[in-house]
Symmetry: C2
Subunit: 218 residues, 2 copies
């Protein structure tokens, strides 16, 4: 059943790296298969199509991350007192860093894939994630809303997408940014340091009071 060092895995490993770096549509199957040192046709044999390969790459991470994240959120709920926004966001850090044990650079790759997916696939990935992982997602949103009850849910919808944009864009260009930061400020950040920097930023933005500014200066 299994062969060599598993062609399927070799394809997934090569594909996720290239997808994260250059995006999905900019990555050809020929480039993937040559990096993976497998035959071109094996992609269609094992996965059916490029689109299904993309889904498989994402699912391999989401299937690990989502349950772990849900477990962390649940743990917050059973805590004695109300969790702060910082605590809720920070609860996702451990599941994210766990991905580094799954594969080298796993955390970065996962976040970059997520960003690429959201941007490239015109809402298609958004549908895929919400339908396949709706439960842990809803749990997270609920925890956030309970933590800042003064924010209406419509406003929260927007702020959570702002937050998604912040993390996704940051991670998509994290490599370039850490390089610049090292050159300009002598800072040497790894992915965890960047995550720890972004959490207070997002928490402050999500929690900021809503001001009724409808009659503001035009």
């Amino acid at each position: 059943m299994a062969s060599r060092s598993d062609t399927k895995t070799r394809i997934l490993d090569a594909a996720e790296k290239l997808f994260a770096e250059r995006g999905f549509s900019e990555t050809s199957l020929r480039l993937i298969t040559s990096k993976a040192e497998v035959n071109l046709a094996s992609v269609n044999y094992h996965f059916g199509s490029k689109k299904e390969l993309i889904r498989a790459v994402l699912a391999r991470y989401l299937d690990v991350f989502m349950p772990a994240a849900a477990k962390e959120i649940s743990r917050l709920h059973t805590a004695p007192n109300q969790a702060s926004l910082d605590e809720i966001f920070s609860a996702l850090v451990a599941p994210l860093l766990e991905l580094n044990k799954l594969r080298a650079e796993g955390t970065t790759i996962f976040l970059q894939l997520l960003g690429r997916g959201y941007i490239e696939s015109q809402g298609h990935l958004r549908w895929f994630i919400t339908t396949h992982y709706g439960e842990p997602l809803a749990k997270f949103v609920k925890a956030v809303q309970a933590s800042v009850p003064h924010i209406p849910s419509a406003e929260m919808f927007w702020r959570l997408h702002f937050t998604l944009g912040t993390v996704v864009f940051t991670m998509a260009s994290a490599d370039a940014l850490t390089e610049i930061a090292a050159a300009d400020f002598g800072e040497h950040n790894d992915i965890e340091a960047v995550i720890r920097k972004v959490i207070p930023y997002m928490a402050a933005g999500v929690a900021v009071p809503v001001i009724n500014n409808e009659k503001g200066l035009l």
Copy 2:
């Protein structure tokens, strides 16, 4: 010299809409020229290549927006008292909305183009903008830093990129998000409403105090 209703303009008008909607690499010259009702070869005749067409599309907006934004920032400097972060970000709103007078949906298109460009062109657009519009950009950064002097410049570097990510990702998917918001919450937001929502979010994140969390719980 000029012909018909200006082929060059017809191409730019059709291209910017398609680029904003579907991204640069997902938009073929054949699609652009068919929407513009011009011949395929006229793109290469007038612009030389697709890459130069992309630059021309962006420059047509940047040449209007950047000077206007710089002027607004300068006006803040001469104000009697120190400008708040909200005021600094809000100073960009008027120049942004001015683009709607330039062309229909100009504001949305410009912001979406900016987002697409930053994401798709691996730092290439970042270089283009900083070298061609470095002066107004530096002026903006300076104003932000003066407004929140308690943030070290290294931290500010990261936060401004978080901010860029927030706005860029939000605008790249603004159409989809406004649709969802309308369906789920009955909210009908235009681009200005979204901009007014995102400003407090970003301002709060940029200004949040830095806590020395190096010995935080792992």
